[in-house]
């Protein structure tokens, strides 16, 4: 393979994101005869679910941190074969910051990291977005203390770096990722004094039919459950961490019961000592590359904005496909199914009916789960005026309320302009949902970020090398 993507003729398909969805899409598309580029910001494939130690760590049993590890190794082997045959180019360390529609295809604009002098552009006839998700956060007093990490972040640092943020880790928030994270943490030697879940998980129980249709999910849930039982992890339902304590790092948390609207119930607070807290409220699809091109979105039952796709995984933008969490959060199995479906559609081949059915089943389950974990409006009850909402620009609740009540801001964008909340390095990824709530506009609208990641100015200033057309 040529080393510089700009020297190669254009690809039939550029797949952005090498998680379960993107990997499955790239190898399936290559099976069907397409020439693909598979780009990922990270240096390894696997994405969030199949995040694993770098080879240097010499992990003999990475499967111990994953369900369904063989599914990953299967995909990775197929990718390696396609790479050797020149059908897929895996471009690791390529973070895509913008998609540009060119006459009949796309220019995928990439940054190769802070050291790179040049800008890189990958030409492709079509693009498949498989950029996954990041975690939804709801602020609380103390959430900026070192030792407070996201649930998925704890998971990611463990899976890739074999490290833990502490020895006694409270896991809190809402959603199935909490159980996965708690189960990994205890298996890897941490003590988890409590898993604090804001909902009562009632949503699933009401529709047992859907659950039964997805046996793998049950097995996985049982797997987490048994690890948690074995380690005597206490699951506190209808509760939330309403404060993290400590000065330079977290030393304890206060947990309170929540009413049905997620309002903390006074008098139910109890303190739990810990040296780390892993927290998250489900996931938010990472879709700005598509919304920047005007792709239509939908708000899922969890309140998260996802791309709107048709049965073939085509977005409303010609030539732009999407698979996995970008279509609404649903987990690795669904991501794989959607990646395979999208690849068939791009190659203009009919997928197996079983694949179509499987995807429908998994999507239905995902929607059900999403509905169960939608945040209740009462969560703002645990905020204090001085609680930082925007971590980057350190904007407290009181400043946001002033912008809304006295300066005429009624939406997240205006709050941002008037307070700087969401203007910092993360561009509102961490504070977005909270700012939208406080702005009174309920759930956030579609992400609008012209740049999907920061770009060194020198790379913008560098000449755009004409990419050879294939």
């Amino acid at each position: 393979m040529p080393t510089s993507p700009s020297d190669v003729p254009r690809y039939d398909l550029a797949v952005i994101g090498a998680g379960p969805a993107g990997l499955a899409a790239a190898v399936t598309a290559a099976d069907l005869g397409l020439r693909c580029a598979l780009l990922d910001a990270g240096r390894q494939t696997g994405g969030q679910y199949y995040r694993h130690p770098a080879p240097g760590l010499g992990a003999a049993r990475p499967d111990r941190l994953h369900h369904g590890w063989s599914a990953y190794t299967g995909l990775a082997d197929r990718l390696a074969a396609h790479e050797r045959a020149g059908r897929v180019g895996f471009l690791g360390g390529h973070q895509v910051w913008a998609l540009e529609r060119t006459g009949d295809g796309y220019a995928v604009h990439v940054t190769l990291g802070p050291e790179a002098a040049d800008r890189a552009t990958v030409p492709a006839a079509a693009v498949l977005l498989a950029t996954g998700a990041y975690e939804r956060q709801l602020p609380f007093p103390g959430w900026t203390l070192p030792g407070v990490v996201t649930a998925g972040g704890a998971q990611a640092m463990l899976k890739a770096g074999l490290v833990l943020p502490g020895r006694r880790i409270v896991v809190a928030g809402s959603g199935p990722l909490l159980l996965a994270a708690a189960s990994s943490l205890v298996t890897a030697g941490a003590e988890v004094p409590a898993v604090v879940e804001a909902t009562a998980y009632l949503g699933y129980a009401r529709r047992p039919g859907v659950l039964a249709a997805v046996p793998a999910k049950l097995v996985e849930g049982a797997g987490h459950g048994s690890a948690l039982l074995r380690h005597r992890v206490r699951l506190r339902l209808r509760s939330a961490v309403v404060e993290a304590h400590g000065t330079d790092r977290v030393t304890a948390v206060t947990v309170a019961r929540l009413d049905a609207d997620w309002r903390p119930v006074p008098g139910t607070e109890r303190r739990i000592d810990c040296d780390a807290l892993a927290v998250g409220h489900g996931l938010l699809p990472q879709i700005e590359l598509a919304t920047e091109l005007g792709a239509a979105t939908r708000t899922g039952p969890d309140g998260a904005v996802a791309l709107q796709v048709d049965a073939r995984m085509l977005t409303t933008v010609p030539g732009l496909w999407s698979a996995g969490e970008t279509n609404g959060v649903g987990g690795a199995d669904l991501a794989i199914a959607e990646g395979e479906l999208a690849a068939h559609a791009v190659a203009d081949r009919a997928p197996r009916p079983a694949l179509v059915r499987r995807r429908a089943r998994l999507r239905a389950f995902a929607e059900l789960m999403a509905a169960a974990h939608r945040p209740g409006p009462g969560w703002t009850g645990w905020l204090r005026p001085d609680t930082d909402v925007c971590r980057c620009e350190e904007v407290p609740v009181a400043r946001i309320r002033e912008a809304v009540e006295e300066l005429g801001a009624g939406d997240p964008r205006t709050v941002k302009l008037l307070t700087r909340a969401g203007m910092g390095w993360c561009q509102g990824r961490m504070c977005g949902p909270a700012v939208a709530w406080l702005a009174g506009s309920g759930e956030p609208g579609p992400d609008r970020r012209p740049f999907a990641c920061p770009v060194p100015l020198s790379q913008l200033a560098a000449e755009q090398r004409a990419a050879a057309e294939g």
């Binding site: 240096r43 240097g56 407070v148 350190e394």
Partner: protein, 104 residues
């Protein structure tokens, strides 16, 4: 004795090397990120914020939150959860924007 993550996955890493953190050697295993090496050493914060001067370290662990920024090999604002801890890497606790040298 509780199990460690490395034991769990049967890790037999290559020989450890060191990175320099604020003038002090911190061990790192081949393939670990800078943030992972610091966590393994019990360090949770390597940045202070621009406004309040508060300590920060890893939050999201996947490159989305930019809380784990540090000055790496003299270059400020680097996401340590993404950057590998290579032998000889120098990591400095970053104060605020990390660009005080440019101020006029």
């Amino acid at each position: 004795m509780r199990r460690t993550p490395a034991e769990l996955v049967g890790a037999e890493p290559g020989p450890a090397h060191h990175i320099d953190f604020d003038g002090r050697p911190v061990p790192a295993l081949p393939g670990q990120s800078i943030a992972a090496a610091l966590w393994a050493d019990g360090v949770l914060a390597w940045r202070t914020t621009r406004v309040g001067g508060r300590p920060r370290g890893v939050f999201c662990g996947i490159g989305a939150c930019f809380d784990c920024l540090a000055t790496v090999n003299g270059r400020p604002n680097q996401r340590t959860c993404l950057l590998p801890a290579e032998p000889g890497t120098t990591v400095t606790t970053q104060e605020g924007h990390g660009r005080a040298d440019l101020a006029i």
